[in-house]
């Protein structure tokens, strides 16, 4: 998503290149909760886990729906909170992996 070229796109999700226009269009298409918007647009699904874009998204959605930001349910938080290198989960003794 977010692939359309505009003259002055305002990117609100830097990890996944989602613009305000993408968000507004998706809301008009009927995606009116954070969980659905997140899945439709990949907003908040990047390596920063939505640190900057989810609060912005909450405010845009609240404005569009005429609600207060604290009335918008936040998305599920899934572990880990920050991306973790997989080698930390691998035993160094694992045959075939060691010394690669």
């Amino acid at each position: 998503m977010g692939g359309e070229v505009r003259k002055h796109p305002t990117i609100i999700c830097r990890c996944n290149d989602v613009t305000i226009e993408d968000v507004e269009r998706a809301i008009e298409e009927g995606y009116q909760d954070i969980e659905s918007l997140r899945k439709r647009l990949r907003i908040g699904m990047g390596p920063c886990q939505g640190r900057t874009c989810i609060p912005l998204l909450v405010r845009i959605l609240a404005r569009k729906l005429g609600k207060k930001p604290n009335e918008i349910p936040l998305p599920t938080v899934r572990p880990p909170i920050v991306p973790i290198p997989l080698k930390l989960f691998l035993k160094s003794k694992e045959p075939g992996v060691e010394g690669e």
Binding site: E29, G30, D33, E35, S36, K39, R40, R42, M45, P47, Q49, R78, P79, P80, P83, I84, P85, L86, K87, F89, L90, K91, E94, P95, G96, V97, E100
Partner: protein, 385 residues
């Protein structure tokens, strides 16, 4: 409220059924979901699509489904990319001689049913899956007709097409129970009032069992937690979904269209356990066998980990179609981990049951609740992704 057809569940099954019914001329369709569209197993799945199974029922139905995935991914009524099927294939690796023997038997069965699987040697495997370390592989079973799709694009394509055709989708509306009298289901009682309909379709995934219990029908489904993780995104590395047949718990890896790797493996679990009961031990268990094939994975970071239910029937085949007690209710559930790939054919079959009284694919008739009541279970060996 009233509808000609009420579909309970807006996962990929419910949407595919709604879409197929509109194509066959049904006008007044309502789809209700307790949460948002796709919130059940659908948006948690690994999106693998294949016909390389081991039972005739699965192979035949999946083959139809794969054809429909292709058909519905042309730029037609489902938008520019349609269902967005990416036919990148599946490879099952074998590191034991007896598995290669089994693969040979499977290839014979699958080929006889028109699925062009074949055995490939490690060199060929390396060509199919660049960057794979194939030293331990004896051979692989390759299914060139299999593939994947991007779940949110696929759901969106179905959803937009349903809306355009006038299907009413009611999200955040949970059905508490069904009400029946005189051999017919009359209404669905929701938290926002009753919905009456001529025909009811229960495509409610893990909620189907309870809904049917409310009208006295036992559908023996178990909700089995499954775990998956996703890594950061990279450039396209390989297209097939890769499964390790011999590692136990069938570990797999697949790269999404966005570049992330989805990795999963079966771990011992209890049915009905909460989807919030995180098992961090899943991550090392799933990674260990996959990192043998792809040593570079150790430099990759895991972004998220989640759980979803395999809504499982006693013989790991779907439960489709009518039930004897009621003339106007149809089931579409119990896919045991394969409901995503089945969705297009699910839509076709259920629409045929509703409109023509029977499905056009004879193998589907063996998949009603009756087989379970009569104890005629079907065997399947390849239950994974």
């Amino acid at each position: 409220m009233r509808a000609d057809v009420l579909i309970i569940g807006a996962g990929i099954s419910g949407l595919s059924i709604a879409y197929t019914l509109t194509k066959r001329g049904v006008k007044d369709i309502v789809v209700v979901d307790a949460e948002y569209v796709g919130s059940g197993s659908t948006s948690r799945c690994a999106t693998g699509i294949r016909a390389s199974f081991t039972s005739e029922e699965h192979v035949v139905l999946m083959k139809h489904s794969v054809e429909l995935w292709r058909e519905l991914s042309k730029p037609e009524e489902l938008g520019r990319y349609g269902l967005a099927f990416d036919q990148g294939g599946y490879v099952w690796t074998a590191s034991k001689d007896e598995s290669v023997e089994l693969f040979r038997r499977l290839v014979t069965l699958q080929n006889s049913l028109g699925v062009p699987t074949r055995i490939v040697d490690p060199d060929k495997l390396k060509g199919l899956v660049p960057t794979m370390k194939v030293d331990e592989a004896k051979a692989a079973l390759y299914d060139p007709t299999a593939g994947k799709s991007y779940v949110f694009d696929t759901l969106n394509a179905y959803l937009m097409a349903c809306r355009r055709k006038g299907v009413k989708i009611m999200e955040f509306t949970s059905v508490r129970k069904l009400v029946a009298s005189g051999g017919r289901v009359k209404a669905a009682v929701t938290e926002r009032g009753e919905i009456e309909a001529d025909t009811f379709i229960v495509a409610a995934g893990g909620g189907s069992k309870e809904l049917m219990e409310s009208i006295g029908i036992e559908v023996p489904l178990k909700n089995l937690p499954r775990h998956v993780m996703i890594t950061e995104a990279f450039k396209p590395v390989f297209s097939p979904l890769v499964i390790d047949w011999d590692a136990g718990g069938a570990p797999f890896i697949v790269q999404t269209k966005e570049g992330n790797f989805i990795i999963g493996r079966e771990i011992a679990e209890e049915p009905e356990k909460s989807l919030k009961s995180v098992r961090i031990d899943f991550i090392p268990t799933a990674i260990a066998p996959i990192a043998k094939w792809f040593p570079w994975l150790k430099y990759v970071r895991v972004m998220r980990y989640w759980m979803g239910y395999y809504v499982t029937s006693p013989d790991h085949h779907p439960i489709y179609g009518p039930v004897e007690e009621y003339e106007n209710v149809y089931l579409a559930c119990g896919y045991s981990g394969h409901g995503y790939m089945l969705a297009p054919v699910t839509g076709k079959l259920i629409a045929e049951w509703v409109l023509d009284g029977r499905p056009s694919i004879p193998q589907a008739e063996r998949l009603t609740l009756r087989r379970i009541r009569e104890g005629k279970l079907i065997e399947e060996l390849a239950i994974v992704g």
